[in-house]
């Protein structure tokens, strides 16, 4: 699948030159996206801390209009999704597609940089607008109406060359599952994004159907954009670093197509029992539970691929992040199923478990995979190695514990909220029990975001040093475990 050991040395060298040329061709846009994404991630996590505190203690930092929870929370989510998520995803997609297709980025590099600059300017304006009181209150589309055409054009500036690379390099033997996922993400995101924005901003009025479309949009972006990029990079890096081929092509194919078929149906169950026609929420709930199938198929495949290579997980920063990210994928499927099925979803509806689902998929799964990818990609683009094992290790552990805490606390807190709400004794009570009982969970969420902010500060610092060319000058990659078994990492896999 990757470099086979039988290839003679001269071919290996030619291969390395070819790889270096590809890396050089995408260097500018990819590093630009990663660096800006890391800044947005930093901002988003800080806003997450603040939003958590404001949800418990609304008078924290005074009663300024800009930092009320109703404005902070959307700013936090939008910075995470568009500032970090989509941006970092585009960088990873471009690099993996260039490498997988063996194509250099021939032209249009300045167009890509320009698109990335516009993307960042637009997000900045959009998030400022939310905070200053121009929010649309449409979840995940809170930024004012005028931002979406700009974002769409910027996205297409990247999607087009990625799709072109895929088309030019298509050979049956080189057709690998990670490129399917990445092409799928290029294809689905604009479709979902245009549909939701046209429906919610351009059509005259959709009333409650608009709320359903918005819920569909959020699930679509998670399941058909973030998930494919995460799974695609896992499928790319796990075989590359363990030196094992993907365990089963059939499982990979079935996992991809079942996601493609089911992903578009889910979402409207967020408003189960609401004004939407019952069949819509029922279909969404069914698909939400059935999505356990692709999750299980991919999970099994990854498990079989990493089997017996766990020492590489300890040593390689990339594999460690991706391994744990891939472990969060089944968790996110489980949370989605819990929120979707009627018998659990009715208790979890409108509670923090909704936040748990967003965070486990966008942070726990997608971001962890992207961190892994960045730890692999950046040294190849900057020509130097990561400076400090300690920074990487801290980034990893604070992220894992932080996001784990958020998921568990939001789920348990959500269950508690639902139980309080549906407790018959509360029928004539104020919301005091509900507010007081969920306080502890929100506090722990704020604490967890603090841990994550700390980890992201180290990540941002490390990344900036690398981009500035201040990394280690060495041909040996920075590994986390120095006493590792030399056979754990086959030679050539870190080329």
């Amino acid at each position: 699948m990757q470099t086979s050991p039988a290839i003679p040395a001269t071919d290996l060298q030619a291969d390395n030159f070819r790889r270096a040329a590809i890396d050089k061709s995408v260097r500018g846009p990819v590093l630009f996206l990663f660096t800006n994404g890391a800044f947005w991630l930093m901002l988003s996590t800080l806003l997450g801390v603040l939003a958590g505190i404001k949800l418990v203690e609304p008078e924290f930092l005074g009663n300024c209009a800009w930092i009320t929870y109703g404005r902070l929370q959307p700013a936090h989510i939008n910075a995470l999704v568009y500032g970090w998520g989509v941006q970092a995803a585009l960088g990873v997609m471009l690099w993996i597609m260039a490498r997988r297709s063996g194509q250099e980025l021939k032209s249009g590099k300045s167009l890509l940089i320009t698109a990335a600059v516009f993307w960042n300017i637009t997000i900045t304006v959009g998030i400022l607008a939310i905070v200053l009181g121009k929010s649309t209150s449409i979840e995940w589309l809170e930024m004012p109406e005028f931002v979406w055409p700009v974002l769409l054009i910027c996205f297409l500036c990247y999607a087009w060359p990625i799709a072109r690379m895929f088309g030019r390099a298509l050979r049956p033997e080189g057709f690998m599952v990670s490129t399917w996922y990445i092409l799928g993400a290029c294809f689905w995101f604009p479709w979902i994004f245009i549909t939701a924005n046209v429906a919610l901003h351009c059509l005259p009025s959709l009333g409650a159907l608009g709320a359903g479309i918005d819920a569909w949009y959020i699930h679509g972006v998670i399941l058909l954009f973030f998930v494919p990029v995460g799974v695609g990079s896992a499928y790319y890096f796990i075989p590359k670093i363990t030196g094992q081929p993907i365990a089963s092509a059939q499982l990979a194919s079935a996992g991809f197509w079942s996601l493609a078929i089911l992903g578009g149906w889910t979402g409207m169950q967020k408003y189960m029992g609401g004004p939407l026609p019952a069949w819509m929420t029922a279909v969404g709930a069914t698909a939400g539970v059935l999505l356990l199938i692709p999750v299980a198929l991919v999970g099994l495949n990854h498990h079989l691929t990493t089997l017996g290579k766990h020492s590489a997980v300890a040593a390689s920063p990339t594999l460690r992040f991706i391994f744990f990210g891939a472990m969060f994928y089944p968790v996110s499927g489980l949370v989605l199923a819990l929120n979707s099925a009627f018998w659990t979803g009715s208790g979890l509806q409108f509670t923090q478990s909704w936040y748990a689902f967003q965070m486990v998929s966008v942070y726990g799964f997608f971001s962890m995979c992207v961190f892994g990818a960045i730890y692999y990609i950046v040294p190849r683009l900057t020509g130097c190695e990561w400076l400090s094992v300690r920074l990487i290790r801290n980034h990893f552990w604070f992220s894992v514990y932080g996001v784990g805490t958020i998921i568990i606390m939001s789920l348990v807190g959500g269950w508690q909220q639902g139980a309080d709400f549906n407790n018959p004794d509360n029928w004539d009570q104020t919301f005091m029990n509900l507010v007081v009982n969920s306080r502890g969970y929100v506090v722990s969420r704020a604490v967890a975001w603090t841990l994550i902010s700390f980890s992201n500060f180290m990540f941002l610092l490390h990344l900036l040093l690398m981009v500035a060319g201040l990394g280690r000058r060495s041909s040996a990659p920075t590994l986390l475990d120095h006493e590792h078994d030399d056979h754990a990492l086959p030679t050539g896999t870190h080329a």
Binding site: P58, C64, T68, S137, L203, G207, M280, F342, Q349, Y355
Partner: protein, 224 residues
């Protein structure tokens, strides 16, 4: 599998849900219009839904992101207690005989985008208009939620109010606040136009009007 079949596969697998869940329902929704009550069967005249929500106040509600913590959707009894909460519908009696009805598409007909809500940190507001206190009490709640409930986690929307020096007689709109939350002596707090609109919006939230043709169903006790 070549490039073309791959793309066709993607388009087909995603196009089907896109068409069935989004495009066709959106087209159908455009045909949705208010319906007239039947005087004989329903006992009321006019159109259903009878009155739109206050549009100016809705803009403030949207701007402040109130839907982050407040839903506007009553679920049927099999999914939650919503319908049985005291005063959550037109019937403000302590224990009503029937649960407040769950919502349907026409309840949101006047709204461009229905704010069904993200989380339920605070009470549901679908039918808040029926149980809304007078404007002065609502203004006090917005200006200083903790003067109403000391455990409240609702933000204080002080920016919707003006703190001004009392000149001549005190304004009749000035908020009457408990001493702990009151402005310094010689000053008063008056609502802005936006705060007034927000109050009017909340008072206009009544989404449990009689559905045409269902008067008989609602009036008769549950059939055993």
């Amino acid at each position: 599998m070549n490039f073309r079949t791959f793309i066709l596969g993607l388009a087909a697998s995603f196009g089907l849900p896109w068409l069935c869940l989004i495009v066709l329902p959106a087209m159908q929704y455009q045909q949705l219009t208010p319906v007239a009550y039947d005087k004989e069967a329903d006992g009321v005249e006019g159109m259903y839904p009878p009155a739109p929500v206050n549009g100016q106040g809705l803009l403030v509600y949207i701007r402040e992101g109130c839907n982050q913590c407040h839903t506007q959707m009553i679920r049927p009894p099999q999914l939650g207690m919503d319908g049985w909460y005291k005063g959550w519908g037109e019937d403000q009696e302590a224990r009503s005989a029937v649960a407040v009805r769950s919502n349907e598409l026409r309840d949101y007909l006047s709204e461009k985008y229905a704010l069904l809500g993200i989380q339920r940190v605070g009470p549901d507001l679908a039918n808040f208009g029926w149980r809304a206190p007078d404007a002065a009490a609502l203004h006090q709640h917005f200006y200083s939620p903790r003067s109403v409930h000391d455990w409240s986690t609702m933000p204080a929307y002080k920016h919707l109010y003006t703190l001004q020096k009392i000149q001549g007689p005190a304004s009749e709109h000035a908020l009457k606040l408990p001493r702990k939350f009151a402005p310094p002596a010689g000053y008063e707090v008056v609502p802005t136009k936006e705060a007034d609109n927000l109050v009017k919006y909340l008072q206009s939230l009544k989404k449990d009007y009689l559905i045409p043709g269902q008067a008989a169903v609602a009036a008769s006790p549950a059939k055993k």
